[in-house]
Point group: none
Chain length 413, copies 2
């Protein structure tokens, strides 16, 4: 089966947003063995949309459309598809009820134009939307499949994952199976050198590496009739690469480093408290992205002032005066302080200069100290990061989670 992704929305053509939906959908379709041959984007214009849809139906078995399902006049996707396929739009009572319920739940008045969203092509499979008002649908017609999903990713993604992909998986003949090995602390070119011999002799299992936001990913991909077969083909190569990457490899399941480290805390029931300065709550935010983390995460102190470091964390004024707020000594006292006041197993603390201002020759922007206090002592890490404020804060957070992960690994032996 080959597919085209057709996005509808003038905001894409104006460059206001990137077409991240096309990327997400492509990935998911590739995973289930559907070849994506084209992406296209067209504005909220009936004639151009009609022409694009006709071209897509001519060259592709499956057309996945995003956007243009909203309540407003320039939302024309369903109307255009119905016209092209010769299907009537009929009121889907259940969807209308869901829309009404949705408005009730969020305490908003449902306006009349929202009724339009409950009209769907006759005979379609309705795709429920639990995060918004516009339902999606799947239309089968003369051996072709047209899928319509709303544009906002928080609505589109669960609808694709929960309904559309399972539906399409049934129709696809083979599977593409990939394993994603996530690595922290080794650069992409260094990693490539480590596994160059494997890359050079790759055959049925392909190897690709890519870097993003301070982390590197190795993708291993196999194509097979069944998912299990593909995974079996990948496994020996995965093990070989894992043995070379050692503890820089933190996930073979494409998980984020923050998630892996937080999960280790949860699984081992190791309680934690945080003391953050330059990251301003970022480490705590990422910890608390994980449902259920309240079992082990007890409290966080964002000590953005010296007073807060002294009053909330027990950092000694002499330490601040002698070594400065951005120093290994202050980080240590912050970590030990928060561990003590929160009575947790570990305390993690960060202090540094995220920029763009506040740097000096002696302590430049990007200078960061992280301290991890645990029951057998306190470890520190000094970073000298480059890049903008966003990158510096992100790399600091990743390093903190890397320290947490390595500590738990060592502790568990």
């Amino acid at each position: 089966m080959n597919a085209e992704i057709l996005a509808v929305g003038t905001e894409l053509l104006m460059g206001q947003i990137a077409n991240t939906n096309a990327q997400y959908i492509s990935k998911k379709l590739n995973d289930i063995g559907v070849n994506v041959y084209y992406h296209s984007v067209v504005g909220d214009n009936p004639i151009r949309l009609k022409d694009s849809l006709l071209a897509a139906l001519k060259r592709s078995d499956l057309v996945v459309m995003t956007g243009g399902l909203g309540p407003t006049q320039d939302d024309i996707t369903k109307e255009t598809v119905s016209e092209v396929l010769g299907k009537k739009l009929v009121l889907h009572e259940e969807s209308l009820e869901r829309i009404k319920t949705f408005f009730n739940r969020i305490n908003r008045k449902m306006t009349d134009n929202n009724v339009k969203q409950a009209y769907l092509p006759e005979g379609c499979i309705v795709v429920e939307n639990n995060n918004g008002t516009a339902p999606g649908c799947i239309v089968e017609n003369n051996g072709k499949i047209v899928v319509m999903l709303p544009g906002p990713p928080p609505e589109m993604i669960p609808m694709l994952d929960d309904t559309v992909i399972p539906y399409l998986r049934e129709k696809s003949e083979y599977r593409i199976v990939s394993k994603y090995l996530r690595v922290f602390g080794i650069g992409e070119s260094q990693l490539e050198e480590l596994i160059m011999d494997l890359i050079d002799k790759q055959e049925r299992v392909t190897i690709a590496t890519y870097a993003k936001d301070g982390q590197v990913t190795v993708r291993l991909t196999a194509k097979s009739k069944k998912e299990d077969e593909g995974l079996c083909e990948i496994l020996p190569l995965q093990n070989e690469i894992a043995s070379r990457l050692k503890d820089a490899l933190y996930s073979t399941e494409n998980e984020e480093l923050e998630f892996v480290a937080s999960k280790m805390l949860l699984d081992n029931n190791i309680t934690i408290a945080t003391a953050e300065s330059c990251t301003g709550g970022l480490i705590s935010t990422r910890l608390t992205d994980i449902p259920g983390i309240s079992k082990v995460f007890k409290r966080g102190i964002i000590s953005y002032s010296n007073e807060s470091k002294i009053e909330n964390l027990g950092v000694r004024p002499e330490t601040l005066e002698r070594y400065g707020a951005v120093s290994s000594q202050t980080a240590i006292e912050m970590a030990e302080g928060v561990k003590k006041i929160a009575s947790t197993d570990i305390g993690i603390a960060v202090t540094g200069i995220a920029g763009p201002d506040g740097g000096t020759d002696e302590k430049p922007v990007g200078l960061i100290y992280i301290a991890l206090a645990h029951n057998s002592g306190t470890e520190t890490r000094e970073l000298r990061l480059t890049g903008n404020r966003i990158r510096i804060r992100n790399m600091t957070s990743l390093n903190a989670f890397d320290m947490i992960r390595k500590y738990v690994m060592k502790m568990k032996g």
Copy 2:
């Protein structure tokens, strides 16, 4: 002039990367009055690329192509364009010299296949690449223009900005100017009803609305000979819409709500401390995204346990026992407590259930209390949010910043 952006690259169709080039180019073309009507993406396949190019040339005056200019065999963009336009590829000596120099500079041996990159369609305008090896080019043919640029954004962007846009600006007769009105607290359909009469009679200034992550944007766009003229045309409509949206309108400069609210604190020198439960540091993280915020942001307490609420914020145990951690009363004591301990002008506090677990019939997932303590009292907001943990935390944060913004507005009269 109307345009199509045609990207060439299998990695886009595999979903490995998003087509951010299309977004960037679209924005730049729109700014100089070139209408972008289509985006398309096709893989490194000569037949499908040829078909896509023919379709693009039929419907567009300008085709901007990205990708497929590299040294390898599956880089086929120039070859395909030359075939379609009936132009020969000829060696461009200057480009060959530049490629040789580039390899020298990065201390790598130039391989033979790199010579291919110096072959360009006869009669083209060469677009120099100072950040990579593949030159780009502009080909004029029978009243159509084809631009070819390399795929990597660090190479493509300066080539577009420095050579292609100035070239096209000369050919374009007018400019497109847009203003983005950002709105919080009114849904997209409610907003549309408020300004329906203006939408219905839109003429030279066009109006579009779109929703994203709990916020709505109204885009006003004008087309004129000069940028100033466009802004003047937009202004009366902008003022009319602003007067209807009242304090739901938080930016006419396309800024984020968090940025606007944080900036207001900074500009008015209003100090703030935060006490977060379910958001786990998200509000503080967003506050501290703003450089220089340490002038007004003093500290944050992430009170993920009852002990922390009592010890760090001074919440009374009786309050927690009687009303529960998720209650308006607890939120109020958290806000007042953090304001007091940090000696700030305002304290903002959040408590709630972000899910997916932890909800009950009485206190379901999505129930959130926000309290804002200031010198004349404490305001609260109760939210009943839907969606997943990410959405609930995001909407909670937006509401907190909305309360901050409205408080500062009221205070400033």
